[in-house]
C-alpha cells in the first residue's frame, strides 16, 4: 500500500471517531492525542478501526510506540510488509 493511500485510510478512520478533524491541519510529528481530543475509548476505537480495515494486529504493548501520526504510519507500514 502506498504511503499516501495508507495515510488516507488512517485519517478516514480517525474521522469516524473525530469528524471535526481536518486532514491538512494534522501534523505528522506531533502527538496525535494532543492534536485531536481523543480519550482512551476513542483511541481504542481508532485502533480497532485500523485493525478491521487493514487486518493488522496491534498488541496493547505497542500502544506506547504510537504517539504521532508519523509513528502510526511507520508502524502500519512495517506491519503490512
Amino acid at each position: 500500500m502506498e504511503e499516501k493511500e495508507l495515510r488516507a485510510v488512517v485519517v478516514a478512520t480517525l474521522k469516524t471517531i473525530a469528524p471535526e478533524v481536518e486532514d491538512a491541519e494534522l501534523r505528522p510529528d506531533r502527538p496525535l492525542r494532543n492534536q485531536v481530543d481523543l480519550d482512551s475509548m476513542d483511541w481504542l476505537n481508532f485502533l480497532i478501526g485500523l485493525h478491521e480495515k487493514l487486518k493488522v494486529d496491534i498488541p496493547e504493548a505497542d500502544y506506547a510506540r504510537l504517539v504521532t501520526l508519523g509513528d502510526v504510519l511507520d508502524y502500519l507500514k512495517a506491519k503490512l510488509k
Binding site: 473525530a18 471535526e20 481530543d37 480519550d39 482512551s40 475509548m41 485502533l47 496493547e60 504493548a61
Partner: protein, 395 residues
Amino acid sequence: MIEFKLPSLGADMDEGKLLEWKVRPGDTVKKGQVVAIVDTSKAAVDVESWSEGTVFELLIEPGETIPVGTVMATLLEAGESAETAKRTKHEVPVAKPAAPTPAPAAAAHPAPAVTGRRRISPAARKHAEELGVDIESVAGTGPEGSVTLADVEQAAAKKVSPARTATAPDKTPDKAAEMRKAIAAAMSRSKREIPHYYLSEPVPMRRATQWLAQANEGRPITSRLLMAVLQLKAVALALKKFPEMNGFFRDGAFQPSVAAHIGVAISLRQGGLIAPAIHDVGGKTLEQLMLDLTDLVKRARAGSLRSSEMSDPTITVTNLGEQGVAAVYGVIYPPQVALVGFGRVNDQPQVENGALTVMPMVTASLAADHRVSDGHRGALFLAELRDLLQQPENL
C-alpha cells in the same frame, strides 16, 4: 387507565419535543419497551414505558413541544377495555404552541391499521398532505420500513420549490446553546441546594495497571478492557458498604438505591456533556461493563439514549484524567448525592517499605452531599475504593 407522562430525563430537562411514536393505539406495551422518541436539549431519547398495558390514545402529535409531566398517551390496564375505560379530564400543563394548529389526536383515527400494511404514522400522513407529497411514493426508513416525518420531509425537499421549503420551521435550533443552558440550570441548582464537601485520596495503581496489561495481552483488540471499567466496578463495590453515597435526595429526604446505576460523564465532540447510566454496575463482569460502556459512549455521541439511562443514575463517575488533569472536584448532579472523580494515572515518586520508588498513581476524589453523609464516611468510602483497586483480580 394508565397515564403515560413525559418523564423528567434529568435535572436539566423541563420540556421535550415528541419526534416520533413507536406505538399506535391497540398495541400492547411491555415494561421497558420504547414507546416514543423525545428530543431533549441533550439527545433524542428513546422513552420507555414503566408499566404494561394496551395503548388506548396518543394525545400528543410528533412535532409538539411539551413540559415534563404532560400526559402523552393513555394505556388500558389488563382487563380494561376501551368501553369500560372512562377517560377523565387530565390536568395537562399548557404546552408551548410548537405547531400553530394542534393536529387532531391520533386516536381520532379509526382502529389500528391491519398488520402487513405499510406503516405510516398519522403525523407523517398529515404532514405529507400538507406538503403535497404522495405518501405512497415515500420510502420508509423507520422501524419495519415505517414512513416517518423525516422521510416525508426528505421527499418534500426533493420535490418542493425553494420558496416552499423556506417556510418550513427551522429544524436545527442551536443545540449547543440549548445544552449549555440545560447544564447551567442543573449545575446552578446543585450549587444552590447541595452543601458539597470534597475529599481526595491518592490511589496506587501498579497492581491494577499490571493486571490490566496482562488481561489484555491475551485478548483480541476488539475485546480489550479499559482502566475505566475497573474504576467503575470498584466504585460500585465500594457503594455496597456506603449506601449513603448512592441514591437520590428528594422532597427533603434521602432515598438510597440498592443497585448502583452509575452515570458515566461523557463529553460530546460538539461540546457539552451527558452522564447516562450503566445499570447495576456491581452485578456485572468487567467484560460486560466494557461492552456496556462502549455501547453507551457510542450512543451518547450519536445522540441516541434510553430514558432509563437518563433518569436512573444514582451516582456519577467522571474521568477527567483523560484530559490530563491530576484530580477533579465535581459538581453533584441532582438529585444524586455524590460524584466520584478520577484524575490521570501517571508515575509518581512514592515511599514503599521505607524506600523511594516510582509508582503509577491516580487521585480519586469524592464530592458528596453533606445533608446525607459526613466527611468521615466519605473518607472511609475513598479508602475502601483505594483498597478495592489493589485487588483488581476480585473486581
